[in-house]
């Protein structure tokens, strides 16, 4: 939205030849380097979006596992994380290969870097999900109890944040990225409420197995909160991608 047309053109797959029918006419012709790199950036974008899709799918599974204490689904999250790591490795290779062999200029280099940053954040989100899946497996073996609705609220919010930031990334929408980052406060607020309630629970329980359960739940809440922080980092990367400016949103 507020990205410069040159930068946008260079990064976007819209520079792929379309027979001259698509796209507004006011956009300046892409520079030679941008044109040369367009197919590579296009492929890289698709890879990063593939990674994002995997993360979304992992979030859904993690939340189902947590809600139902389903060991099978929790295991699947842990197994699927390998694909995520592998995809990040491929993305990094792609970036290095483009830098080494295509000699990108400043705007393209920035796009490459930003996409690599985003990919790294997405992979970290995956790590938090694996941690939650692991904690879920432990919780499943303990005394069952009703999960506080705040977990569902945090999970739903985190999942929506990831989906929204993905939209902002695809559209390179700086305004939207900022809006998403601002909503992280809501996750933090829920986390603090949950933390207070769980600590109170911990202080009043006499049963060691209940205490373990509560500590595990505090960990889960913490990881959900951290997942939200990673979304804020992606928002910062989008700002960098669109404007070249490093902005702290957290």
């Amino acid at each position: 939205m507020s990205s410069s047309p040159v930068n946008r053109g260079a990064l976007s797959s819209r520079t792929v030849a379309t027979g001259g029918v698509a796209g507004p006419t006011h956009r300046p012709a892409p520079e030679a380097v941008g044109e040369r790199l367009a197919p590579h950036l296009h492929r890289l974008r698709e890879s990063v979006l593939g990674l994002a899709g995997l993360v979304e799918s992992q979030i859904d599974d993690t939340l189902v596992a947590l809600r139902t204490f389903d060991l099978g689904v929790a295991d699947r999250v842990r197994t699927n994380d390998r694909a995520l790591n592998e995809l990040l490795r491929e993305i990094r290779e792609q970036v290095v290969a483009v830098i080494a062999t295509r000699r990108p200029e400043a705007p393209e280099l920035r796009s490459l870097m930003a996409l690599e940053y985003v990919a790294t954040e997405l992979e970290r989100m995956g790590d938090y999900l694996v941690r939650i899946a692991r904690q879920t497996s432990t919780l499943a073996g303990l005394q069952p109890g009703r999960l506080r609705p705040e977990f569902g609220l945090m999970g739903e919010l985190a999942s929506r944040q990831v989906r929204d930031i993905l939209d902002a990334l695809v559209e390179e929408d700086v305004v939207r990225a900022r809006e998403v980052a601002a909503r992280d406060d809501e996750i933090d607020r829920l986390y603090h409420r949950l933390f207070d309630a769980l600590v109170t629970e911990l202080a009043t329980t006499g049963d060691p197995s209940d205490a373990l359960r509560t500590v595990m739940l505090i960990d889960v809440a913490h990881d959900l909160e951290r997942l939200g922080d990673r979304v804020v980092n992606v928002a910062e990367d989008i700002l960098f991608l669109a404007s070249g400016q490093v902005v702290e949103l957290g």
């Binding site: 379309t18 027979g19 698509a22 698709e46 979006l49 593939g50 609705p149 705040e150 609220l153 695809v170």
Partner: protein, 349 residues
């Protein structure tokens, strides 16, 4: 327009597009099925109307990578796997779809057809669970009734006989209540309800409901003085009874029930907030279903039929309104209803 571009592309590749005056792809443009044309590089080169709406795609942006166009990782996976038919849960738009892959008109192209089956699957679940839940709801009072009757067969001292008979009566009433509620729901759903709009004062309506229910929780009202609305008062009263009753059931003793009302954008909105544990969002779309229980381990009070929220929903829908639930900011749950109101008239009711 997109199909024109596609045709041009076919020409460019030396393929003659189909030549009837209204080619098949134009028909596809308006078809009620989501259709995407994907080239061999897995780029979306054309999308029909339904697809553009579903994926919020701007046609000028095509061609686009499949992921960039749809943002659905599982769709890309399905295309890669090449299975001609599959049912997928799309993670980005959170919908369930049936996918069909068909070879496209140009070599290497694929036509991707999607049908949104989210609502269908939801209704299937509702239908399946309804019977199970209904039998569960009826079984509990029936078992109790049977046990009481068995006890009455024994020689019992007079006070016990009376106690058991009273219990039997109570269970019978409870069963009758469920049946009456079910019948009322069926009648509302069949559209046998006539809407009678009258002018009334909103605060009065709410205070009356609270008095009728003899709520043992403090009531906090946030309603503009002398707020009037023109709507179906008696249906609103019954809908409100259910919301207040529900709030009282799930609030800890002594915690207030907060009711807000206001007229905004041509509708009367009433929200009831409790200070209970709240409801996890995955249940929100389902709490207005018949007999739906958020926590199956928790048994409902003796008086509940499990149909209150469902009746509320249908009473409100019958007036062209809507119902919803959401989390209150600092814990607790909010249940809301909104009904369209007529313009304020001088004569009143």
């Amino acid at each position: 327009m997109i199909w024109d571009r596609w045709r041009r592309r076919l020409w460019e590749e030396g393929i003659r597009p189909p030549d009837p005056p209204r080619p098949f792809e134009d028909v596809l443009e308006e078809a009620p099925v989501i259709a995407l044309l994907i080239d061999r590089d897995r780029r979306v080169i054309a999308a029909n109307q339904a697809a553009r709406r579903f994926f919020r795609l701007e046609p000028e942006r095509l061609p686009l990578g499949l992921l960039e166009a749809t943002r659905e990782g599982r769709l890309a996976e399905a295309l890669r796997a090449g299975r001609p038919e599959a049912e997928l849960r799309l993670t980005h738009c959170q919908r369930s779809v049936q996918v069909k892959l068909v070879p496209g008109p140009a070599p290497g192209d694929t036509l991707l057809f999607l049908t949104d089956v989210t609502e269908l699957r939801r209704l299937e679940t509702v239908r399946q669970e309804f019977v199970a839940n209904l039998s569960h709801e009826l079984r509990t009072p029936l078992t109790s009734l049977r046990l009481t009757a068995e006890s009455l067969l024994d020689d019992l001292p007079e006070p016990d006989r009376k106690r058991f008979a009273a219990r039997a009566l109570k269970e019978a009433d409870h069963l009758a209540g469920i049946v009456a509620n079910l019948r009322q729901l069926a009648e509302i759903e069949a559209g046998h309800l006539t809407v009678a709009r009258t002018r009334f004062e909103v605060k009065e309506l709410i205070e009356e409901a609270a008095a009728r229910l003899r709520l043992d929780r403090p009531l906090e009202l946030d309603i503009p003085e002398r707020l009037e609305a023109v709507a179906d008062r008696s249906k609103l009263a019954q809908a409100l009874d259910n919301l207040l009753d529900n709030a009282a059931k799930f609030s800890p003793p002594g915690s207030p029930i907060e009711v807000r009302a206001g007229v905004e954008a041509g509708e009367l909105r009433i929200t009831v907030r409790d200070h209970g544990p709240g409801i996890s969002p995955e249940h929100w779309p389902r709490v207005f279903e018949r007999f739906y229980k958020v926590d199956p381990a928790r048994s409902r009070g003796d008086t509940g039929s499990g149909l209150g929220l469902s009746i509320t929903k249908h009473l409100v829908l019958a007036q062209g309104g809507r119902v919803w639930t959401e989390a209150a900011r600092d814990g607790g749950q909010i249940f809301g209803l909104a009904v369209p109101v007529g313009p304020p008239t001088e004569e009143g009711a």
